[in-house]
């Protein structure tokens, strides 16, 4: 695979891939006062980092993921990804952003039930500007033999591998994962984490994993802890633990 990641035009190589500055997200509540899901969040993510965003349910993790993934617009603050000022984007530009820069791995895989594993990957590569070969990526996630199977014929772990292959094959700058092991048993979950970690450490992709599970913290390069809509801490692990050693 071609692992080189070039800075986008206008991006200085020294700058971080992701920069959140004082980002606020409010939702219209049932009463007059809006609900503040993110309350002034500021952080950076460097290219190639394996980031774990951790926090309890309702802390604002999903909101952060939505903003980072271009699925929703911030109320205020500044979001930059690969030099693009995402926080100023129109819905159409956000679609462009998701199409070109982001790969998304869902908790419940979200594969098209009537497309085979390979076709599900093609679904993403058909619209990506610089995709990887779908069959190669499927092989890398260990599913070369299941390329012709439909999601209903695959186990949960296998479906999540297809989902990861689909996100990776787009060759995105940023791989976002929403509770990627949340619906899997421990052993399968670990193998999925191993795969995601390798994508970051071996291929140099920036991977952001959102989870409520603190046990994932030791394997991260960077841990962002979110609580009540605020960034409680941002720690860098000098020596991340290997996936096999963690326990949950």
């Amino acid at each position: 695979m071609d692992g080189t990641i070039l800075p986008l035009p206008g991006q200085h190589p020294d700058r971080p891939l992701v920069r959140f500055t004082d980002v606020v997200k409010e939702y219209a509540g049932t009463s007059a006062a809006p609900v503040r899901a993110l309350d002034g969040v500021t952080f950076d993510v460097a290219e190639g980092d394996f980031v774990v965003v951790v926090g309890p349910s309702g802390a604002g993790k999903t909101t952060l993921l939505n903003l980072l993934g271009g699925m929703d617009a911030a109320t205020s603050g500044d979001i930059r990804v690969a030099g693009a000022v995402v926080s100023t984007f129109t819905p159409k530009q956000l679609t462009w952003y998701r199409r070109h820069l982001v790969g998304f791995v869902f908790q419940f895989y979200n594969l098209m039930p009537n497309l085979t594993a390979l076709e599900n990957v093609e679904l993403a590569t058909e619209i990506a500007p610089d995709p990887l070969a779908p069959a190669d990526v499927l092989e890398r996630v260990g599913l070369a033999g299941r390329a012709g199977s439909f999601p209903g014929q695959l186990s949960g772990g296998e479906q999540q591998r297809v989902s990861i292959a689909r996100a990776v094959a787009k060759n995105p700058r940023l791989l976002l994962c929403d509770e990627p092991t949340g619906a899997l048993d421990d052993l399968t979950g670990k193998s999925i984490l191993r795969l995601l970690h390798d994508i970051s450490s071996i291929e140099g992709k920036t991977v952001v994993v959102v989870t409520h599970n603190s046990a994932l913290k030791p394997i991260a390069d960077v841990v962002l802890t979110i609580r009540s809509g605020r960034l409680q801490s941002m720690e860098r692990n000098a020596t991340p633990t290997s996936v096999e050693e963690i326990d949950w």
Binding site: M71, K92, R98, L115, E126
Partner: protein
């Protein structure tokens, strides 16, 4: 036995809430019954009222205007129309030609509403079964609590009965007081008939009653069969049908060249056979109606301009109604597709598909289905028109204008356009967060 109780206070409350949860569906059921009943009442009453008018004209010694006799091809010689007060048999001879018009209207008044009734019935059927499907979890809950399938079935019966009965009453009333007088007025002017006597709403009442009975049966059947399912399966997620390969995939030369999105479309079409049959049938029936309506106008304008004036408004009315009804069917099926595939749609959006690409994912399928239905409906429409002409004892199919074919095709496809237009916003408005939610 507690489980056999049919109407406890809470149970009644739950039944009442069904109405508020499904207001839109109730409106569709009532509205369709109303429209169908109004049309059937109005058109069904016309021939009897015409004959009655002619009889009273003869009794009153009225003579048909020369222009009317001219139109239906009775030679009035030098314009010598019977003088007022002529013997009854002279007048009866003159009016006889107009009785022929009433006979033609009578035959049409049975054939067209029957086709119309079928399409409307199809939509109501879909709406009711969808309502029951949407209530699966509630049904499962009631069953696990110990309510019998019979008790559950009665819970949904009022929904259908009130919808159809309410719509039927409003429709028959509208047909009696609006459609029938308007139709009669157009005929009255033309043929110099006396003011209308009473309208007989018999056909309309019969169709309304038939709607209530048939749909009540459908509701009981659908909800009772849902209640008979294993409660655990009702409470759990309704497993979407697994994807499967289709026979087309055995032709690699064809299949290999299809972009993935057409593969998905082809598999979806094969995957949901009931929807396939329903959409194609509705579209074909609508095309038949539209074709027959246009053909009638086309041929009559050459052959019997006199009848044309009476029948054109009726056939135009039915062409428009057929297009709208069919749009409702297409709308319904498309809406089901959107609701069932919300997760897939949300995922496509997250992947970075533009709105028009997402729209293609759902709309392409309906476009193919409706085109198949339309393609089947055109020759079928030609056949039905021929049979219709033989039955009506007038009309020569060889006089059919060529424009009827493309016009019928375009009008039938207009249904698709209307449905797509109405649903585009809903489709592209699907919340991307749906893709993150727990599978339910």
């Amino acid at each position: 036995m507690r489980g056999e109780q049919l109407a406890g206070r809470t149970f009644t409350k739950v039944a009442f809430r069904t109405f508020s949860h499904h207001v839109a569906r109730l409106v569709v059921v009532a509205g369709l019954t109303a429209i169908t009943s109004a049309l059937v009442t109005g058109i069904g009453a016309l021939p009897t009222t015409m004959r009655d008018g002619i009889e009273r004209a003869i009794a009153n010694g009225m003579s048909p205007p020369a222009a009317a006799l001219d139109m239906i091809g009775i030679d009035t010689g030098s314009g010598a129309v019977a003088a007022p007060g002529s013997p009854d048999h002279v007048l009866a001879d003159l009016w006889g030609g107009l009785l022929f018009v009433a006979d033609g209207v009578e035959r049409i008044s049975v054939v067209f509403p029957a086709l119309f009734f079928t399409v409307a019935g199809l939509v109501i059927y879909m709406t009711v079964t969808r309502m029951v499907a949407a209530e699966r979890q509630q049904i499962g809950c009631l069953v696990t609590l110990g309510y019998s399938p019979r008790a559950v079935a009665t819970r949904y019966l009022p929904f259908t009965v009130i919808g159809c009965l309410g719509g039927g009453i409003v429709g028959v009333a509208a047909g009696y007081w609006t459609v029938a007088p308007v139709l009669y007025a157009s005929v009255q002017d033309l043929y110099g008939l006396p003011d209308a006597g009473d309208f007989l709403p018999g056909l309309g009442v019969a169709s309304a009653v038939a709607t209530v009975v048939v749909m009540a049966g459908v509701t009981v059947w659908a909800s009772a069969s849902a209640a008979k399912e294993i409660p655990a399966r009702l409470l759990g997620a309704r497993v979407p049908r697994a994807g499967a390969r289709t026979m087309w995939e055995r032709i690699p030369a064809l299949w290999g060249r299809l972009p993935y999105r057409y593969k998905s479309t082809v598999r979806n079409i094969v995957r949901y056979k009931v929807r396939f049959v329903m959409t194609v049938t509705s579209m074909a029936l609508a095309t038949v109606l539209v074709f027959a309506g246009l053909a009638l106008s086309s041929v009559l304008s050459h052959e019997q301009p006199a009848l044309m004036d009476t029948i054109a408004p009726i056939s135009a009315m039915l062409v428009v109604a057929a297009v709208l009804l069919n749009a409702l069917v297409v709308h319904n099926v498309t809406n089901i597709n959107i609701e069932e595939r919300e997760r897939e749609i949300a995922t496509l959006k997250v992947l970075g598909y533009y709105p028009h690409e997402v729209a293609g994912y759902v709309f392409r399928e309906m476009a193919i289905l409706t085109t198949i239905g339309m393609a089947m409906g055109l020759p079928l429409g030609h056949l039905v028109t021929r049979v219709l002409f033989a039955y009506l004892e007038f009309g020569n199919i060889s006089l059919l204008d060529a424009w009827v074919w493309p016009a019928a095709a375009a009008l039938a496809l207009a249904s698709l356009g209307i449905a797509d237009l109405l649903l585009y916003r809903k489709l592209i408005g699907v919340d991307m967060n749906t893709s993150l939610k727990v599978v339910d």
